[in-house]
């Protein structure tokens, strides 16, 4: 698949729109003032994503949803353990921290994944007029490489560029770093470009 600079610009713009919306929904969830740097949209090969987080063996928390409907693909949210802890602490502010069970922490992350991926897809759907529906999210904590390769086997696009959105946001002085990885499969990419009147 050949993507030229116009395709890349479109993907970046889609990433920007989706991430902007996702970020807003996250600040509503946190119900606090969230200062956010402009999300940085990168187009990377999927196999290179683990290096953003420090390498394939670095432990990370991944929340994933599959995309169904007019286009198929996958959205993966990745957090380092520190960032995930900070995020949970902020979402559950007011709740006694030492009473937070592992199960509750995971469901907080799943809910964050749910909200962020739905908003991202909604933005994308309204931009392209495609119907894009997320599945129920799933999460795991493991090596970045192992999490990413499980996305690769599902979409089999390791040579293709994918949209990676890196967002830094600050909640009450704490920096939380998260990665949103959007992996449209080839057919979805064609549909996305077609909907915008661009051939692939």
């Amino acid at each position: 698949m050949q993507l030229d600079s116009m395709h890349l610009d479109i993907l970046k713009e889609l990433g920007n729109i989706g991430a902007g919306n996702a970020a807003t929904s996250l600040s509503q969830l946190l119900n606090q003032r969230v200062d956010m740097s402009v999300p940085e949209v990168k187009l990377l090969k999927l196999r290179d994503v683990p290096y953003l987080l420090g390498g394939p063996e670095i432990p990370v928390i991944g929340v994933t949803v599959l995309v169904e409907g007019d286009g198929e693909g996958q959205i993966l949210l990745l957090f380092t353990r520190d960032s995930a802890e900070k995020l949970i602490k902020n979402v559950m502010a007011g709740f006694p921290q030492n009473e937070l069970s592992e199960e509750m922490k995971i469901s907080v992350l799943l809910e964050v994944g749910n909200i962020v991926s739905s908003t991202f897809l909604n933005a994308l759907a309204s931009f392209t007029n495609l119907k894009l529906i997320p599945t129920v999210p799933a999460s795991t904590t493991d090596m970045a490489g192992a999490i990413l390769d499980s996305v690769l086997v599902m979409e089999a696009t390791e040579d293709d560029l994918i949209i990676t959105v890196v967002t830094d946001f600050t909640v009450q002085g704490e920096m939380i770093e998260g990665y949103l990885v959007f992996v449209p499969n080839r057919l979805s990419l064609e549909k996305i470009f077609n909907s915008l009147g661009v051939s692939l």
Partner: protein
């Protein structure tokens, strides 16, 4: 001593000593082939079980085509076909998504196809650490044929 990291869809062969590594195997499958008589070791890091369309030109992306490819490379370096044994690692299912098991059980398919391909080539499997829902790093010591498997929170073992 050489330490060669074998990335997704890649392969490498070493002779006498050195370590061949697959970092963070999830659904992917790592296949180590070893000729103990010549101390020739090869490692394949396959992404998928079998090629899905004719555009897939890289044989080592797949277990079904990557294993014979790796075997040929080892034979070319002087390995003895009758001596070659195998160890396989990986093939897990990292996420459970209800109703979409069809899409996410490729790790299991990778393991099955690797076993079947090795059986057809009459290469015995001496060790295996596959399946589950967690990632593994695989280190293959070419001087001894030992494969070390490392995980996060599930310890380390040798096969």
């Amino acid at each position: 001593m050489d330490r060669v990291v074998v990335g997704i869809g890649e392969w490498s062969v070493l002779k006498l000593n050195g370590v061949l590594v697959c970092l963070g195997l999830g659904s992917c499958i790592g296949v180590a082939l070893y000729d103990p008589s010549k101390k020739i070791g090869g490692l394949l890091h396959a992404l998928l079980p079998i090629p899905q369309n004719s555009n897939d030109s890289n044989p080592t992306k797949f277990a079904s085509t990557g294993i014979p490819f790796l075997l040929d490379e080892m034979l070319r370096l002087g390995a003895n076909k009758q001596s070659i044994v195998a160890k396989i690692v990986g093939g897990s299912q990292m996420f459970s998504i209800k109703g979409r098991e069809d899409k996410i059980n490729i790790g299991l398919r990778n393991t099955e196809v690797a076993r079947e391909t090795l059986r057809k080539l009459s290469i015995p499997i001496l060790g295996e650490d596959t399946g589950g829902n967690f990632g593994r790093t695989m280190e293959f010591l070419v001087s001894t044929g030992v494969v070390r498997v490392k995980t996060i929170g599930r310890g380390e073992k040798e096969i």
